[in-house]
Symmetry: C2
Subunit: 413 residues, 2 copies
């Protein structure tokens, strides 16, 4: 059999396990009869356009332990981009160049690891391939901490972010409970349109702590009066209230809840803050209680030291699955996870046509949120619980986790 | 020998290893010939005043594995307080009550685990004991992520916070390097008056990443024009700049760099933000570059899952040391760490008179900061490096770290 090569790229925002899918693709091609070399395009599709392409087979052959290190390294080893391909009916020049590059490198399959926007790229490349009669397989591999991709039961990267959020909420609860004075702590969690990750805060609850006591997702409208009533009600029976909110909470008119322009900072400049700060000041002005807001920052998407082993293993397996499917000629598709059982938790790896996935988004079902819109229901917890299970073996050196050398990304353009 | 009992309490802000010192005190008393039962005062000195006292010997006897779980649990198992004892020359009523409680429980030694304010309590109780001729030993056990206590080489809790900060900076670097567009990321780290913890960000540097590229501590004056020049200079040779700043950076007049009152948030309320936001907007207004600020939140002091084993072991040993010293009649003191060698790193456990420690603060030496005031020097890194070494074995259940049940803290007063 005349072996071809294949190519992989990563796009969108970071996750803790997006490199596990990359490692899965590399591992899949190394064990494949169909492929010889696997190339990596640096900064998503831009790498192909700018001739910035790495030989990933070499990287692993040079030092096989790189595969394991790669699997556990956060963010994109290959870098990312926010580049949206134009419609090829308007302008096919970039498509033309991309497929010429594919031809030059004898590419048989292209794998694109990413979220919603990246699946749009997969769809466009697939359509273009069909149009020009190319037999190059184009397959998307999902990743996003937002968990908002259609068809797949969940997305790689989400379980690790959920584990980080739940673990952080538990540690913040310990931090909060120490003072015997009434207090409110608001924790703002990523998720502009979908509340999956904020819902994961509920996994922090255990036999001694029911924090977070209130949870607000963007799937329901936020009402400030009802919110203040909720908080006062909680404070009647507890000293320390912890509230989890999505960054994307909004009122019934669709306006985001956030803090606006400032006019008097140290340098006289303007500023914008998020929903957490806005609610902090809403409470400060209306309830006589100690209050603070905490923004769970970018670490929720890149703290690979606390990733979920379940998530890592699934992300890796999806990378291998994509390679296997391409060997069977599958194209214009995204690999998917299907939950075949919840207890014990098992998944099947499959695929779905990309046209049913790209440019659609999956929200938290309203029936998994309580009627008052201030908590999630048991069905939500049942769905979430298996996704955060298991801890990877992380190697530490000088007290810090060992990750892949990404100096190829830091060179000046 | 007629056995006495002893008592321990915790005070001030949380750390990841303050319970390791508590476990050390319990372990020390369990192996002691001098003490029978060890009691814990809930919410610092307030527990004695409010009759809220736990039997810690029982806790461990009931389930010996509690000692190990306690050692790894964040924040104060016994709760905390921000209560400052009055001068007993003005009002000795609380002193009178405290020592009556000590007598009632047959207390031979009282251990107070805390930071600067807590050592003020140790000093006052010691002076009062001397005045009334009590032979109860009063010993302080240091803890603070600020690392600003005198005499001791460093403070328990600092090493774990430093490990968290360095690890976070490394993960944020991976997160930042993925886009091939110029960007500045400002990371705000705790430390109002001392820059030790912010300096620890420099430990994130390795063979492939020199982030953070700029570091500003409160030990030097912050000048916004010099800062903008520094940033522009960095952007000339790199795409993605990461800057670590202490929350307490201030100008030459002593004014904190922060963002002031906002007037237009969603609810028309005012707000205040920190130095990170202020610098984010300073850059936005002066340099044409993508910029964001990240506040390393309360997790830097309570993320016990990422604590330093060196720190945990030292915190535990200091608890045991305090018990041993009290058996020898040492009082009016704080246990200390003396670094006897840096390579290999070794420490000796000793003690110092509390009057030389209370109400004093230790800053980063100016000679460990570069002349420009925008980085730390190798001597600083040599000092810091051993403190973050080693990872504890953390038990996970349902995907989350297992910590001590603190339901005794959440009951309404």
């Amino acid at each position: 059999m005349n072996k071809k090569n294949c190519m992989v790229a990563q796009s969108g925002g970071p996750t803790a396990t997006i490199n596990a899918s990359l490692a899965g693709v590399i591992s899949g091609t190394m064990h494949s009869q169909a492929y010889d070399t696997v190339y990596g395009s640096v900064n998503g599709i831009l790498g192909i356009l700018h001739d910035n392409i790495l030989n990933l087979s070499d990287l692993i052959e040079k030092d096989p332990s790189n595969l394991e290190t790669l699997k556990h390294s956060p963010a994109m080893y290959l870098g990312s981009c926010r580049f949206k391909l134009p419609d090829f009916m308007d302008d096919d020049s970039s498509y033309n160049y991309i497929f010429k590059q594919f031809e030059k490198l004898n590419i048989g399959a292209f794998f694109y690891i990413g979220g919603n926007d990246s699946m749009d790229t997969v769809l466009k490349l697939s359509n273009y391939a069909k149009r020009i009669g190319s037999d190059i397989c184009i397959i998307g591999i999902p990743k996003t901490i937002d968990n908002d991709l259609m068809v797949t039961d969940h997305t790689p990267g989400f379980g690790s972010a959920a584990k980080y959020v739940a673990s952080s909420l538990l540690e913040i609860a310990h931090d909060t409970f120490i003072y015997a004075v009434k207090s409110v702590t608001i924790v703002e969690i990523m998720g502009r349109d979908a509340g999956w990750l904020t819902a994961a805060a509920a996994l922090a609850r255990n036999q001694y702590s029911d924090a977070p006591h209130l949870i607000y997702l963007p799937e329901t409208d936020f009402d400030k009066d009802r919110f203040l009533t909720d908080v006062k009600e909680c404070l009647r029976v507890r000293n320390n209230i912890i509230i989890a909110i999505s960054e994307g909470i909004h009122d019934a008119a669709g306006n985001y809840i956030n803090a606006g322009e400032s006019q008097e900072d140290s340098f006289g400049h303007s500023q914008l803050s998020g929903a957490g700060k806005a609610l902090e000041y809403l409470i400060k002005d209306n309830i006589n209680v100690k209050v603070r807001s905490v923004e769970i920052n970018v670490l929720q998407r890149c703290a690979a030291h606390l990733s979920s082993k379940t998530d890592l293993d699934e992300a890796f397996a999806l990378g291998e699955k994509a390679v296997a499917l391409s060997e069977d000629g599958v194209t214009a598709s995204m690999v998917t996870l299907e939950r075949t059982s919840n207890s014990p938790y098992t998944v099947a790896y499959g695929s779905a046509e990309i046209k049913n996935i790209a440019n659609e988004a999956k929200s938290v079902p309203r029936e998994w949120i309580n009627e008052a819109g201030n908590d999630v229901l048991p069905a939500m917890l049942e769905y979430l619980a298996p996704l955060i299970l298991g801890e990877p073996d992380i190697t530490y050196q000088n007290g810090l986790p060992v990750y892949m050398d990404v100096s190829h990304l830091t060179a000046i353009e």
